[in-house]
Symmetry: none
Subunit: 203 residues, 4 copies
DNA sequence: CATGAATGAGTCTTCATTCAT
DNA sequence: GATGAATGAAGACTCATTCAT
């Protein structure tokens, strides 16, 4: 997920006043999500994030009291991206097409996945080693994805929608792990094709 | 993988002199693998490992010059466990049974997977964020697993053995991620059952 | 060299805002140079330097990322002192007098030399055991000194100015080593007198 | 000094019993002197010395209770080399020739001096930063050299023999420092030639 | 005497976090 | 609100020294 992240940097220059704070906060959250994806949470320093967001380090603390809050914000960024993505997909008339577009989006990101894995899955995996609430936040996002997928299957008339949704998402996470570990985007391409065929078979 | 790790600590008490060095080294490698699984590599202190292995910190460096070497050793421990596991499974007469036993082993570890994910998959995921050779070491182990699975499918007469193997392993990694993130061992149980049925369908 | 180091700590109290950063950085560099002189680079702890500069250890790294950078800065401090010294000497009308003043300055520091050797020579000697670039930095300063001395001889009309310069500097380094090893400032006094007579003979 | 170190490894195989300890002890002392020359005392590990002397680390402590004792032994090795050297030079009939041979020996080692400085001078310089007795031991060796040189000048009928001796040794130390710092063996060649001419002028 | 292994104190270095302007 | 600088608590790593065989 978090693919199709053509999240246009929506700072429309026309928007007049609105405290810049919001923009900076968001910039930091997005920077965090990105660096976490590339380096992992633990390896990432506040400086890394600040630099990417082009915000002086000392200033970060005006927006986030702790590093954990930045992690939370990064998870939030993923949630937002997922919401934006599903909203876009919902525009398609057929639920099967929506799922296939979802998968296609993932496959399109296979080069990134080969290098750094699924942007959200690897984050969730890292957070799962902890027992603060952060893992719960990640779980929520994962559940949201499954729920949306499940909704599509329901619309397709499948009574076992929830099961199928878990299967689909698990398949994506699994191919991401292998693609990443073996550094082979071909795996994601091949597995993605199978998944699409599988959807077609169900429709 | 790395499940079914009933690797009996084979220090037969009869073995008389034999320098203890090897044993300690192995103890450290296993301790490292275990703590890495629970806490992740980055969060893990040399002290954590030393404590679990019951070795004074300073002494760790007699066996491993750097933390990275401990990571390498942990990967090696996973490789060794996998080898031990497949060797045991090879004792079964039918390749399909071997695969089903493999899956069953995974499912048996579902509680652990729910808490900490796949012991090897999460390690590989974390190492993939780096670009030293460590990620390659992890890739090797993953390939070894796929190769063994593929071998079983070949013996079952499947010409698409390699594809099926990737599918099986990806499925395992995927269900591990979801089981872990959602903290729900039920997912692994359900998905495992499906996988077994799938094997049966192929045979 | 590095004698006549009456480098007045030029923090004119009138200077109003100006970021203190530069001052602290310089304080650290000077502290490093001094402690290196007394204890040698290897025996010197970052704590030693920090304590002398009255800076908390952790803060040292805000200015210098590694201990090596502090060594570099110390060499830089020597370069600066040398520059300040020669600039002062250049005020004298006669080149021969400049050289004699240089020597006199060295002799004035003979007690220190007896205890710790030449502040810069011993540093260069220690750095020469390494093969990172630090030894080159030291070489530069040594060359600068020789060049300045050579310039004086040239002004005195000596065609063999460079040779004489090497002779003079080597003589200083040699007497420093003996003065230091034998813990006898008298050596430097006696040898210095000879050098001055030698200069007079050349003029 | 310490040049002309053709100290034949005098383990005449005919020497019958004599505990081997002596040989090992000497090997360690020589190894220490050599590594100290290359790396400096502080940078040198007991392991470095043990490895070069081909003695297991643990065994070093049978011969030397502390690292400092090894330093002492290294100084002793220098003293012994100096004694061997002067004994050999004493075979020459003319004192002036002895001094010239001494200088020639130094010049012959100029490549080493360019890389690591005078084997003994740099050691003395490093030890001078300490205030345990080690610096005194080094001073003794330096004094022995000066005394021998002074003796030659006395035999040449010079009443200022001691002064000349200090001048000669200081000149050697000085050219060593410059040769080393500037990494230029040519300096030692040129300065050595001058020294020899100086001796000739005195004779 | 020999030797691999053990020990623990100490050093450099990193960083999240806070503070003073 | 913004920002460079400050701080201190770790953590990785080294090594002289000691011990058990």
């Amino acid at each position: 997920m978090s693919t199709l992240s053509q999240v246009t940097d929506s700072d429309s220059p026309t928007r007049p006043v609105r405290r810049r704070g919001g923009a900076k906060r968001e910039r930091l959250a997005n920077a965090a999500a990105e660096v976490f994806h590339r380096q992992g949470v633990e390896k990432t320093t506040l400086n890394d994030i600040a630099r990417l967001a082009d915000v002086p380090v000392g200033n970060v603390y005006y927006y986030f009291k702790t590093k954990d809050q930045l992690v939370e914000a990064a998870v939030g960024a993923h949630r937002a991206r997922l919401a934006a993505l599903t909203e876009r997909l919902d525009a398609l008339p057929e639920p099967a097409d929506r799922l296939k577009a979802l998968i296609t989006g993932w496959v399109d990101q296979r080069e990134t996945a080969a290098r750094f894995g699924c942007p959200f899955g690897t984050l969730a995996t890292e957070l799962d080693k902890r027992d603060d609430g952060l893992d719960q936040a990640a779980a929520e996002v994962m559940r949201a994805l499954i729920a949306w997928v499940s909704g599509q299957f329901t619309q397709m008339g499948r009574p076992d929608a929830q099961d199928l949704a878990v299967e689909l998402v698990a398949a994506y996470q699994g191919m991401s792990v292998l693609t990443n570990t073996l550094r082979d985007p071909g795996i994601m391409a091949a597995r993605g094709a199978r998944l699409i065929a599988w959807i077609d078979g169900l429709a």
